[in-house]
Structures are given as structure tokens and as C-alpha cells.
């Protein structure tokens, strides 16, 4: 069935990213928005836009019933959930299908199966995919916990079966901590998810976080689109991704890719999905989890393979067969993504919502930006702090790093604090340049990364001079009539000579 109208049940950069592909495919796009998002870019970009509720996500972007109601009212054929929000919500997916609306993603059954971490582990073990050593059932007693942990060997992670977002998780290093940790994980899991089931996994110290993009159609064809290296993280959130992974060898890629495809086939996966692995320095790899949706970092895969993943998602949802086989796919060149957050890297990455003053986009050869904020836009306090993604491509990794540095240098967002300078520092870090890094990267290089690279004295003097002139200008502006249209005369020469005496 040909899809003619898609409701995008999301906001921010991903909503716009999806609408762009809709527009290229001649599909009408429908935005939904919360109170805080009336002037958000996705509302302005879409052909249609409907209000769905108050600013907190729980009253808007997580309100599946309301969204389905809008979809039915405006005659949308399909709903694209983006990432986050309802993207991995099986009951929402089911309600869509029950209402005769195509949910662009896998079936509710697959979402449920991959959403339960113990269930996912069992499925992978059955499919022969390596998993992190640990239990395949939830722990029935504290005694069992001690036995299991002894057999696996410390350190271990105690994890909630229904977990996510780091909740209901405890790292255990010492034997005497086992019982307190199991108890703490259980009670947190119960409080957070209403389910105290926990299981135990071997803890891999400083692993690499490497994931494989997969695409499966409704006719049993499944391919992988190679890996993404996602080990640069802060607060368990990815900051930088790249492909190919500097750790990867052609053999390891072939093996892991084969397992990724088998993992997807084991659940008859249809749509775009990601198989996440932990990999140690000795190239041992373990299935971590499957994300049954588009990932934030999908553009680097698009850049090295040339394939529009959202377009493929839509075509798969329409029932089309994949237009390529595994052997048709190849990685060419090197792509890196940096996530730009509105946050203060000097203050423990504290979110920094607020009003955007000016934006200078990095442009030119090999640079892609996916963002959603614009000049004068006020970033709401209710949602994620990621405001843009910067993706570069070059023939090889060294060039890609040089290009990313150039792009970050050009990229200016004023009015709020952002991670841009911190990202630039990462590009200058020796461990990143050599490609020898793991999930411990930011912790390990903290001193270098937070070091202030002050410009020289002369540069500081220029800032002083600018501030001086701005101050004079402001004195002057406060006393003369202002222009109606500042845009008509932005650049100007001075008229505030008379202010000099007044100081």
C-alpha cells in the first residue's frame, strides 16, 4: 500500500529529518505539538500541524490515544514515531494497527520481546548470538544471586528486567555488596517499573559500545548496514559516533554483522533496527540489546552507505522488498557525528535551556547538519537537551576529524551554553585522534577536555574593546529613538562620539 500522509509523533530534529524524506517522496507530513512547541520548527515545516496537549511529554508526545485520534481525524495512513517517546511502546504500536494506521516500525510482538531484557537475552542465546555471561531467568532468591555471581565472577551488574535509563541497575565489585545491591536494584525497579524482576550480567570493564544497523522487510529479507562506534559517552549518553569503528577489522565486521542479521531474523524483524554490542579490547563481543527504532546516530550510516534510512523504513512499511542485498552494500569513506547539546560542559553537563540569539551553521564540503533550533527560538525545559547533530564525511578518518574540527569551529550558537567547544576538544584529544578509546574515554581524558584554551592576551583585549563599544552603543541607544526595523540597518558605523564625554 502506497503511503500518502504520515503523522510524525515526535518533535525536534528527528521530526524535521523525517519530514524532509516525506517531502522528497511526495508524502504529506503532519506535525503534532505540545503547548511549549507552538513555534517549534517541526510545526512550521510540516504541511499540517495539530495541538495535542500540555508541555510535559506525558500530556502530549506520550499521549498515544490523542495522537491516534489526530491521525484518524486528518486521514494519515501511517505514524512515524521517530526515536524516544512512543517509538518502543508496543501498546501504542498495537493501537495504531488496530485503528487501521500503519505503525512505521516492527510489530508490537517484536517490540515487547526485545523490550524485556531477559526475554531478549533468551532469544539471542537461542539464535546463537553471544550474550554477556549471566542469568537467563530473573533471580528468585538472594541465595541464588550469590551462587550465580560466584560462578560468573565479579564484577557483575544487577539489572532490572524491565529496565532502562540506568534505573534499577547496580554494579557489584565486592562479594559483601551482593545482597545490598540486589535489594537496592529490586526496590528501585519496583518503584520505577512496577516490576522487581532482576537478572545478573558479567560487568565488562571499559568496553567498546558498537552497534550494527539492520534493515528487514516483510518478506524475510534482512541486511546489516555495518557498524557504528558509539563509545564516546557522558552520563551513559552518546556524544560522538563514527563509522567505520577504529577497532574494527574486516573479519570482525563480517562476524558481528552475520550475528546482527541472525539476531534480527530470530524475531522476523521488519523495519530499521539496531543491534547493540559490547566489545572488549580482545575483540570479544556480546549482544547488549536491540533498539527497535531509528537511532539518533543513523546519519553516519546514511553517509557511508548512501542509503536514506527513513525512506527505507517507509518503503518497508508499505510492504516493499528491500532494493538491495547484503553484497550490494559497502561502506565508503569515514563519517563522524557530534551531538550538540544545550548544556554546560564546565558544570557537569547541566542542561541549559534558553533563548537562542544567533546561529551560524557550518556548511560546505562534506558537512551535514540536522537540527531544529533557529534564531530567536526558546528551547523548552521539558524535552531532551540535544539541539543538533553535526555529521561530517571524508575519504578517511584523519580527514574526517580535520573536517569535523573545521565544522565545529564554524558552528556558532549563542544565547545558550552548548557542548560545541567540548566536542572540539574531543577532536583534539590524542586518544580520539589515534582511535584508541573505549567507553571510559571522557572520564580518562577529563582534565584535558575541561582545560580552558584561553585565547592569547591580544584576543582578550579585543573582547574588552568590543564590550566597551557595545556598552557605549547601548548608552546611545537608550537615549535616541530606536529604529523600527533593525534588520534594515544592522551593520553601521558609529554615531556615539557624543557618548565619550559622558563616561
Amino acid at each position: 500500500m502506497k503511503i500518502k500522509k504520515i503523522l510524525i509523533a515526535n518533535r525536534g530534529e528527528i521530526a524535521i529529518r523525517i519530514m524532509r524524506t516525506c517531502r522528497e517522496m511526495g508524502i504529506c507530513s503532519v506535525a503534532v505539538f505540545s503547548e511549549a512547541d507552538r513555534t517549534a520548527m517541526h510545526v512550521r515545516y510540516a504541511e499540517e500541524a495539530y495541538y495535542i496537549g500540555k508541555s510535559p511529554s506525558s500530556e502530549s508526545y506520550l499521549n498515544g490515544d490523542k495522537i491516534i485520534e489526530v491521525a484518524l481525524r486528518c486521514g494519515a495512513d501511517a505514524i512515524h514515531p521517530g526515536y524516544g517517546f512512543l517509538s518502543e511502546n508496543a501498546s501504542f504500536a498495537k493501537k495504531c494497527t488496530d485503528s487501521g494506521i500503519i505503525f512505521i516500525g516492527p510489530s508490537p510482538e517484536v517490540i515487547i520481546r526485545m523490550g524485556d531484557k531477559i526475554e531478549a537475552r533468551k532469544t539471542m542465546i537461542a539464535a546463537g548470538v553471544p550474550v554477556v555471561p549471566g542469568t537467563t531467568e530473573h533471580i528468585k532468591s538472594e541465595k541464588e544471586a550469590i551462587e550465580v555471581i560466584r560462578s560468573i565472577g565479579l564484577p557483575v551488574m544487577v539489572k532490572a528486567a524491565a529496565g532502562g535509563g540506568g534505573k534499577g541497575m547496580r554494579l557489584v565489585h565486592r562479594e559483601e555488596d551482593i545482597i545490598p545491591s540486589v535489594r537496592a536494584a529490586r526496590s528501585e525497579a519496583l518503584a520505577s517499573f512496577g516490576d522487581d524482576a532482576v537478572y545478573i550480567e558479567k560487568y565488562i570493564t571499559s568496553p567498546h559500545h558498537i552497534e550494527f544497523q539492520i534493515l528487514g522487510d516483510q518478506h524475510g529479507n534482512t541486511v546489516h548496514l555495518f557498524e557504528r562506534e558509539c563509545s564516546v559517552q557522558r552520563r551513559h549518553q552518546k556524544m560522538i559516533e563514527e563509522t567505520p569503528s577504529p577497532l574494527m577489522t574486516p573479519e570482525l565486521r563480517a562476524t558481528m554483522g552475520k550475528y546482527a542479521v541472525e539476531a534480527a531474523k530470530a524475531v522476523a524483524y521488519s523495519g530499521a533496527g539496531t543491534i547493540e554490542f559490547l566489545v572488549d579490547d580482545n575483540h570479544n563481543f556480546y549482544f547488549l540489546e536491540m533498539n527497535t527504532r531509528l537511532q539518533v546516530e543513523h546519519p553516519i550510516t546514511e553517509r557511508v552507505t548512501g542509503i536514506d534510512l527513513v525512506k527505507q523504513q517507509i518503503k518497508i512499511a508499505e510492504g516493499e522488498k528491500l532494493p538491495f542485498k547484503q553484497e550490494d552494500l559497502k561502506q565508503s569513506g569515514h563519517a563522524i557525528e557530534c551531538r550538540v547539546y544545550a548544556e554546560d560542559p564546565d558544570n557537569n553537563f547541566m542542561p541549559n535551556p534558553g533563548k537562542i540569539f544567533n546561529i551560524t551553521q557550518p556548511l560546505g564540503l562534506g558537512v551535514r547538519t540536522d537540527g531544529y533550533v533557529y534564531e530567536g527560538y526558546e528551547i523548552p525545559i521539558y524535552y531532551d537537551s540535544m539541539i543538533a547533530k553535526l555529521i561530517v564525511w571524508a575519504e578517511n578518518r584523519d580527514e574526517a576529524i580535520a573536517r569535523m574540527r573545521r565544522a565545529l569551529y564554524e558552528y556558532k550558537i549563542t544565547g545558550v551554553k552548548t557542548s560545541i567547544k567540548f566536542l572540539e576538544k574531543i577532536m583534539e584529544t590524542e586518544d580520539f585522534k589515534t582511535g584508541i578509546y573505549d567507553t571510559n574515554f571522557i572520564e580518562k581524558n577529563k582534565d584535558f577536555l575541561t582545560e580552558k584554551s584561553l585565547c592569547d592576551g591580544e584576543c582578550l583585549d579585543m573582547v574588552m574593546i568590543a564590550a566597551y563599544v557595545e556598552y557605549l552603543d547601548q548608552l546611545n541607544r537608550a537615549q535616541t529613538s530606536k529604529q523600527l526595523y533593525p534588520a534594515q540597518n544592522r551593520w553601521k558605523k558609529y554615531t556615539y562620539q557624543k557618548n565619550f564625554e559622558r563616561l
Binding site: M350, P351, P353, I465
Partner: protein, 169 residues
């Protein structure tokens, strides 16, 4: 006459010597610069000095005479110390004293929890308020031992940057 400008630890004395349209001769402490300076209403400056090209943007902060300056390389907090500011400084010793008696919000957000009541006795380091913004919660702690004299916000309320939240005596 000159004014003082503070960036980080440094306070410099700035004085204009001569001006012809966009060409300025200007003294920063003891150093004299000839600069070609253009700017626009949005606080964007292009300065050419001895051939070097500088791009600087000044964004006003919530406090008057305070700016955030962006160069291609870095971000600075800039404070203008004019006669008025000097007077206030000399008189009151600045905001430092006040700051110790209050909790203000460093960013916009929403009040999640206030585990204290007016009149409560608190110790330095006790959590007084939890603020949430962009899916992340932050706890703000008491800067000193004392008594909660005033709570100016309530749970669930949306707050702005620099809004006064709690006073401690």
C-alpha cells in the same frame, strides 16, 4: 575618561583615544591598539587589528552591564564596571553577601521537590530544592547552617534563570 572591564580574573582599564568612523585608537591598560571595528545591532563585532581578523559576539546577560562574549575559540563572562557599578561595589561589597543567604536558579526549569519548610533549621549541604530541566534533575544545597526564612516558589512551579527561590537566615 575610562571604564573598567572584567573578564575572569582580569580587570582592564579601557580608554578611547581617537575615533574616525570605524577606525579607533584605543588603550587597554597600557597597550594602545589601532583597530578597524564594525558591529551590528545584534552585538556582532568584526575587528581587524594589525591584519588579524576577530569575530566577537556579545550577548547581554540578565544582569545589566554583563555580557557573554563568544569568539570563534571561546566563551567569556564580561562585566562592565562603570562609575555606577564602582559606587555600588564600594558601598556594599557586591552581591557576595546576599548570595550566601539565598538559593537562585542557574537555569530555567521546574521545581520538583522542596523537602524543607519555612522555619526549618538546616545544615550546610542539606538539599533544599530539586529542579528539573530537560529530563535531568539537579539538587541545590544549603550554602550554610541556618534557618529557612522564606520559600518563594512551590513544587510544580516553572522558574526562570536567576529567579530567587529560597532565603536562609
Amino acid at each position: 575618561m575610562s571604564i573598567e572591564i572584567k573578564i575572569g580574573d582580569r580587570i582592564a582599564n579601557i580608554e578611547i583615544i581617537r575615533q574616525f568612523e570605524n577606525l579607533l585608537e584605543i588603550k587597554v591598560d597600557e597597550k594602545v591598539y589601532q583597530v578597524d571595528l564594525m558591529h551590528n545591532d545584534e552585538g556582532i563585532f568584526s575587528i581587524l587589528e594589525n591584519g588579524r581578523s576577530y569575530n566577537i559576539e556579545l550577548v547581554p546577560k540578565d544582569k545589566p552591564k554583563n555580557y557573554t562574549a563568544y569568539t570563534f575559540y571561546n566563551t567569556y563572562d564580561v562585566e562592565i564596571i562603570d562609575a555606577e557599578a564602582r559606587y555600588k561595589r564600594n558601598r556594599g561589597g557586591g552581591n557576595l553577601h546576599t548570595a550566601e543567604n539565598t538559593i537562585s536558579s542557574p537555569m530555567p526549569g521546574k521545581v520538583v521537590k522542596i523537602p524543607v519548610n519555612e522555619g526549618d533549621i538546616v545544615a550546610k549541604g542539606d538539599t533544599l530544592i530539586t529542579i528539573s530541566a530537560m529530563k535531568m534533575e539537579s539538587e541545590y544545597k544549603s550554602p550554610k547552617d541556618g534557618i529557612i526564612s522564606k520559600i518563594l516558589v512551590s513544587e510544580g512551579e516553572t522558574i526562570d534563570t536567576n529567579q530567587l527561590l529560597i532565603e536562609i537566615e
